[in-house]
Symmetry: C2
Subunit: 338 residues, 2 copies
């Protein structure tokens, strides 16, 4: 095992290739971007030189001359859970299909997010910013003045396009199910969080389902969207502080933690209390009882975001309408279904 590059890897430049092939750099350049614009004869010569010299164009030089970075930026708070990973996967796929690379920025551990986002803006053609990311409106719109910016699962704004999965309708459907199929009457929604706009829409659906049934919805209960948050709710139930017959959680981790806490306290699910989640992550299928939840096509969401960025960049106008992706209710046993 040895250091790969003994200090100073030799990168061939377009000039060296041109000289080796006995042509001008313009021809080499054409060879890279549009090989069909160069005659078969020279094409071989140049290709041979490229192979022999192991030539790869210098990305920065390309970007500078061509005035485009061939890269999209994606800003995420973190990568915990399947949501962000799926989003990133779809985003990267679509970006790659457009010939763009993806530079990723995780903000969770950073001290100066604003600065990081600004810097990023200097290295990419456009940026997609996840809702949960803590960046000031000023910074975001400053960046947006330079390059296209879109947001994912964020508050709607007049100046920035927003993408999200559908929340309200699915939450309403889910709540109706609890209300009318299982006859539950003391439902509580857990997961109020300022930083997750998605949660707000979900609660809204929860409220509407109650209203249309002539019932009064309980105010939502604040909790971390984490297993710990769920365990804390379980404690409230165990202590008799909370006496619901069903808990609608803003995400799966919360629900999973709640399930674990309830089981530890000997409280039956769904018998004594029903539980639902949101995301349909892997553990939701494996826990007992299996978790009723809502599946979001997050990968597709990521794809669309990147596609839209490409539209923005290439001047195609496309739809500027709301970009909202449908979700799917996944009924399992934790809600009371057999």
């Amino acid at each position: 095992m040895t250091t790969v590059r003994p200090r100073g890897g030799s990168r061939a430049t377009i000039y060296q290739v041109a000289e080796a092939a006995g042509v001008s750099i313009a021809t080499v350049s054409r060879m890279i971007s549009s090989p069909d614009k160069v005659s078969p004869g020279t094409r071989d010569k140049v290709q041979h030189a490229i192979d022999r010299l192991n030539y790869v164009p210098h990305g920065a030089a390309r970007s500078l001359a061509a005035r485009q970075q061939e890269a999209y930026g994606l800003v995420l708070p973190e990568l915990a859970g399947p949501y962000y990973a799926e989003l990133l996967t779809g985003f990267e796929q679509a970006a790659a299909e457009r010939g763009a690379g993806v530079v990723l920025l995780l903000t969770h551990d950073k001290e100066d997010v604003e600065r990081a986002v600004s810097r990023l803006a200097g290295r990419v053609d456009a940026i997609a910013l996840m809702g949960g990311v803590h960046a000031s409106v000023e910074t975001v719109s400053a960046v947006a003045r330079k390059i296209p910016v879109v947001r994912v699962a964020a508050e709607q704004t007049d100046e920035i396009e927003t993408f999200s999965t559908e929340n309200m309708e699915s939450a309403r459907e889910l709540t109706r199910h609890l209300l009318h199929v299982h006859g539950l009457r003391r439902l509580v929604f857990v997961g109020a969080t300022a930083t997750v706009p998605d949660a707000r829409g979900r609660y809204q659906g929860f409220v509407e389902a109650h209203r249309e049934a002539g019932l009064r919805p309980a105010p939502r209960l604040a909790a971390d969207l984490s297993e710990d948050g769920g365990r804390r709710v379980a404690e409230m139930v165990a202590d008799g502080l909370l006496s619901a017959d069903g808990v609608v959680c803003a995400n799966d981790e919360l629900a999973l933690g709640l399930l674990a806490g309830l089981a530890a306290a000997g409280i039956e699910v769904p018998g004594t209390i029903a539980v639902t989640g949101w995301d349909d992550q892997m553990a939701a299928r494996y826990v007992t009882p299996a978790l009723t939840t809502v599946r979001q096509p997050v990968r597709e969401l990521g794809r669309r975001v990147a596609d839209r960025i490409h539209e923005l960049l290439s001047g195609e106008n496309g739809s500027t309408a709301d970009h909202e992706i449908a979700t799917e209710l996944v009924v399992r046993r934790s809600c009371g279904c057999p």
Copy 2:
């Protein structure tokens, strides 16, 4: 909702800032990289101009002039499961601490991986390549001739540094546990895969534990490292094709699928057959019985890879020794423990 940039965002250049501040571009440049080398007076002027013009240096131009891209490349097969996400998280954190961005390449869906990796090599200072990635030795060493390349969880090579989590020892410990604590005697290892070098080391530990106990290890059973792979193994057991009293799976998903399949077939775990996994992903804690597995500090692995890349780049020689990270056996109920 409106298109952010009406075709042609106005990016201020260093020249405009210089003019607005009444200084030369050299001073502006200094202002960016080392503000202390410019007098307090002009510093204010320049900073003011920067703020007013919303100036952010053009990344490509910087890279070209400074001869470094300030970015590391990470090549992963995909992002399914927690492993890659954790690796990426640690990698990004460490890279960011070094002032480098991360450009991510997912190869799973790409048709021409070699080409993609080559292109990437033109845009970053160094590349970390995951073992499972399907890239020819020629391509990799061609890239390695240009920029530093390290591999993660890959076969050892003479010319490329390799990072991985410890496999053999932990597998031996795990197998010993099954053999001696639970008295199991018909163990089988599932998950032979050419593309996952990690699995090989794990089987090796499995073999050694048998040898040192004077037992004959069964040959390993091929299977996809997925839930489906696990279900298929369960079918073999249900059909009486396989009659083991314990199954050591190469990863958790495999074990989880196996658990589900066994449960569906009415076969008791761990009573009739014990099951273990590898990775300790979330579902492992929630499944019943909870899965005995091995936890790998993957995030730390990612951090170290990025740190080493920085060393390589900055000429610090550091250790060229084997980069192997310790793992931790996590004993739960699926192996027979109470």
